[in-house]
C-alpha cells in the first residue's frame, strides 16, 4: 500500500473510532433519564 493509502486509512478509521468513543463515553456516563413528570 502507498503511504497516501496508509494516511487516508489511518485518518478515516481513527476519526470514526474517535467519534464513536466520544459518543459512547458521553452516553454511558449520563445519569438515567428520570420518569416523565407532569408539567408544572
Amino acid at each position: 500500500m502507498e503511504p497516501a493509502g496508509w494516511i487516508v486509512m489511518g485518518v478515516s478509521v481513527g476519526s470514526v473510532i474517535l467519534l464513536l468513543t466520544f459518543c459512547l463515553f458521553r452516553v454511558l456516563t449520563l445519569p438515567p433519564v428520570a420518569d416523565d413528570e407532569p408539567d408544572s
Binding site: 500500500m1 502507498e2 497516501a4 493509502g5 496508509w6 487516508v8 486509512m9 478515516s12 478509521v13 476519526s15 470514526v16 473510532i17 467519534l19 464513536l20 459518543c23 459512547l24 458521553r26 452516553v27 454511558l28 449520563l30 438515567p32 433519564v33 428520570a34 420518569d35 416523565d36 407532569p38 408539567d39
Partner: protein, 561 residues
C-alpha cells in the same frame, strides 16, 4: 369519501361528539392508550428500556449487508481512499442532519400520541390529509422486508453451510457462482418451491425468528435482541478482521492498498460524489420510515442529538472500520483485482466463500462472517416490521397478535412472490430498485421538506434541544431547510438519469434501463403490479385510519400541545 368528510367539517381536528368508537383517554388498549394532552409518552404506551438500547436498535437498523458488501465495492470503484472525502462530507451535510430531523420529528409525534408515520405527519403538518404523504413510510419497510428476509435466509444458510462443510468447494470461482444460483433458484422461476433447494426452510426459520421478536414488542423484543446482537456482531467481525490482518504481510498490504490507495483524480468526476452521497444515504437508513417510528417511543426528556450521532457513528464504525478493512482486502488477497468488479451479491456470496475456502481455518471464519451478516440483517429486518405493526395497532386498535397476524399474511405473500419469481432474481431486483431505492429518495425528500418548511427549523431547534446532551450546531438547521432538500433533489435527478434510460457500459455493451425492463419483461411487470397493489391497500388503510383518528379526536388532542 374521507376527503368530503374532512373538508365539510369546520375543524378537522374537532372530535365527533361522543363517537361510539372513541376510546377512553386512559385506555390501556394497545392502539388507543393516548395520554391526552400530556405529551409525555408514546401513543401505544410502549417505550424503550434504556438510552443505549434505542441507540443500538437504530444502529442495528442501519447496519446491514450494505456496510460490509456495498461500501467497499463503491469505494474501490470510485477512487479508493479518495472516495472517503466526498463520503465524509456527505455524512456531515446529508446523513447526520437528516437523522437528527427524523429523530426530532419522531419524538415530537410520539409525545402527541402517534407512533406511525401517517399520524406523525398529520400532527406535524396540522392536517389529517398529510397522512397520505406517509404511505411510502409504510410501503418502504414493508416491501423491503419481503425480499430482505430472503437475503437474510441466504446468510443463515451460508453460515450453516460452513458448519456442515458444504461450502468448502475448492478455489474455482465458477463453483461458487453455480452453488449460489442453484441455492437461490436464480436459474428458473419456481425453483425455490420444487425441492431443488432447501432455501425455503431457512426462509421459514428466519420469518419465525423475526415475528417472535417483533411480537415481544419494542423493549422486550427489538431492544433486547439488539443489545445482544450488536456486541456479538462486533466480536465476530473483529475475529475475522484479525484473521485477515494476520495473513502474510505483503499480501495484506496489497489488499489494503486495493481498497485504500487514493486516486485523487476521481474527485473531479461527479459520479464519485454521487456514489458517496448515495452510499451515506442508504447506509444510515434515512428515508426508510424506521427512525421516525423508533424515535416515537422516546420519552419527553430523552436526548435525540447525542443518541442520533451515536447511532450514526456506530454505523460508520461497522462500515469504514470493519467493512473497509475486511471485505475487499480479503477478496483481493485471494482472488486478485477481479474481486472488485463483482456486485454486492457477487462479492458477498461468490467471492467471499471462495476466499474462506482458501484461508487457513476458513471454515470457522466463514461461519463467523456469515453468522455476523445474518445478525446484521435480522436487526435491520426487525426495524422494517415495526413501523407497519405500529400503524396497524394505532390505526385500528388491534392487539399485537392481530397486527402480527395481518403483517405476517402480507409479508408471506410478498416473500413468496420474490421466492417464486427467483429466475434471474428479477422480482427481487425490481422491488429493490423501485421501492428500496427510488421511493426512499422520494420519502427522504418529503421528510426533509416537511421538517424544513412545515415543521420549521426554529421549532426543530427548540424540539431537538429538549433533553439534548449535545448541542446541535445552529447551521445544521439552515442546512436542513436549504441545503439538504436541494442536495437530495440533485442526487435523485442524477440517479434517475443514470438508471431509467438505456445506457452503454464502458466496454460498449448496451445496458437496458429500468424503463426498458418494464416494457420487456413480464416478471418485472408483475412485480410492479404487486407493488401498486400494496400501495393501494396501504392508501385505503391510511384513509380509514385517519377517519377513525378524527372521530376519536386523536388529532384534536395532539393539537392541544
Amino acid at each position: 369519501m374521507d376527503n368530503a368528510s374532512e373538508d365539510s367539517a369546520p375543524n378537522p381536528y374537532e372530535p365527533v361528539e361522543n363517537p361510539s368508537d372513541a376510546p377512553p383517554t386512559t385506555s390501556t388498549d394497545s392502539g388507543s392508550a393516548v395520554p391526552s394532552g400530556s405529551g409525555k409518552s408514546s401513543g401505544s404506551g410502549e417505550q424503550w428500556g434504556s438510552r443505549i438500547g434505542v441507540i443500538l436498535a437504530v444502529a442495528g437498523s442501519a447496519v446491514g449487508l450494505g456496510n460490509f458488501l456495498r461500501f467497499p465495492g463503491q469505494a474501490a470503484s470510485n477512487g479508493g481512499g479518495a472516495f472517503l472525502l466526498p463520503y465524509f462530507i456527505s455524512l456531515l451535510v446529508l446523513g447526520i442532519p437528516l437523522c437528527w430531523a427524523e429523530w426530532t420529528m419522531g419524538r415530537f409525534g410520539g409525545l402527541r400520541g402517534f407512533n406511525s408515520a401517517p399520524g406523525i405527519f398529520g400532527v406535524i403538518c396540522r392536517t389529517p390529509k398529510a397522512r397520505f404523504l406517509a404511505v411510502p413510510a409504510l410501503l418502504i419497510p414493508l416491501v423491503i422486508y419481503m425480499y430482505y428476509v430472503v437475503v437474510e435466509a441466504w446468510c443463515l444458510a451460508y453460515a450453516f453451510g460452513y458448519l456442515n462443510g458444504s461450502l468448502l468447494q475448492g478455489n474455482d470461482p465458477a463453483t461458487y457462482s453455480k452453488y449460489f444460483d442453484d441455492f437461490v433458484g436464480a436459474n428458473n422461476d419456481g425453483d425455490a418451491f420444487n425441492g431443488s433447494t432447501n432455501l425455503i426452510y431457512f426462509v421459514l426459520f428466519t420469518f419465525a425468528v423475526n415475528f417472535i421478536l417483533i411480537y415481544r414488542g419494542v423493549a422486550k423484543g427489538i431492544e433486547t435482541f439488539c443489545r445482544f446482537a450488536i456486541p456479538l456482531m462486533v466480536v465476530c467481525a473483529l475475529c475475522v478482521l484479525v484473521r485477515v490482518l494476520t495473513l502474510p504481510a505483503d499480501k495484506v498490504s496489497a489488499g489494503l492498498g486495493f481498497m485504500w490507495n487514493p486516486d485523487f483524480s476521481s474527485l473531479s468526476d461527479p459520479k464519485t460524489w454521487l456514489a458517496a452521497s448515495g452510499q451515506i444515504f442508504f447506509s444510515l437508513s434515512v428515508g426508510f420510515g424506521v427512525i421516525i417510528n423508533y424515535a416515537s417511543y422516546l420519552k419527553k426528556k430523552d436526548d435525540v442529538v447525542l443518541s442520533g450521532l451515536t447511532a450514526c457513528s456506530m454505523n460508520e464504525f461497522f462500515e469504514v472500520c470493519l467493512g473497509g478493512l475486511i471485505t475487499l482486502p480479503a477478496a483481493f488477497i485471494f482472488l486478485g483485482a477481479a474481486a472488485g468488479d463483482q456486485g454486492t451479491f457477487g462479492l458477498g456470496f461468490n467471492a467471499l466463500p471462495n476466499v474462506f475456502a482458501q484461508m487457513p481455518l476458513g471454515r470457522f471464519f466463514g461461519f463467523l462472517w456469515f453468522f455476523m451478516l445474518f445478525l446484521a440483517a435480522i436487526t435491520s429486518s426487525l426495524s422494517m416490521l415495526q413501523p407497519v405493526i405500529a400503524f396497524l395497532e394505532e390505526a385500528f386498535s388491534l392487539k399485537r397478535a392481530q397486527s402480527a397476524l395481518i403483517l405476517g399474511v402480507l409479508t408471506i405473500a410478498g416473500s413468496g412472490f420474490v421466492l417464486y419469481f427467483s429466475g434471474g432474481m428479477k422480482a427481487l431486483d425490481t422491488f429493490d430498485f423501485w421501492v428500496g431505492t427510488f421511493l426512499i429518495f422520494v420519502l427522504a425528500m418529503i421528510q426533509a421538506t416537511i421538517y424544513g418548511w412545515v415543521f420549521g427549523i426554529e421549532r426543530g431547534a427548540v424540539e431537538s434541544a429538549v433533553g439534548a446532551q449535545l448541542r446541535m450546531p445552529t447551521f445544521v438547521q439552515f442546512m436542513l431547510k436549504f441545503v439538504v432538500p436541494v442536495y437530495l433533489a440533485v442526487i435523485f435527478i442524477a440517479f434517475v438519469f443514470q438508471n431509467l434510460p438505456d445506457s452503454t457500459a464502458a466496454d460498449g455493451t448496451p445496458t437496458p434501463g429500468y424503463l426498458s425492463k418494464i416494457a420487456g419483461d413480464v416478471v418485472v411487470q408483475r412485480s410492479l403490479l404487486f407493488i401498486l397493489g400494496v400501495i393501494a391497500l396501504l392508501t385505503v388503510m391510511v384513509h380509514f385510519a385517519g377517519v377513525r383518528w378524527i372521530k376519536q379526536g386523536k388529532f384534536a388532542r395532539a393539537m392541544e400541545d
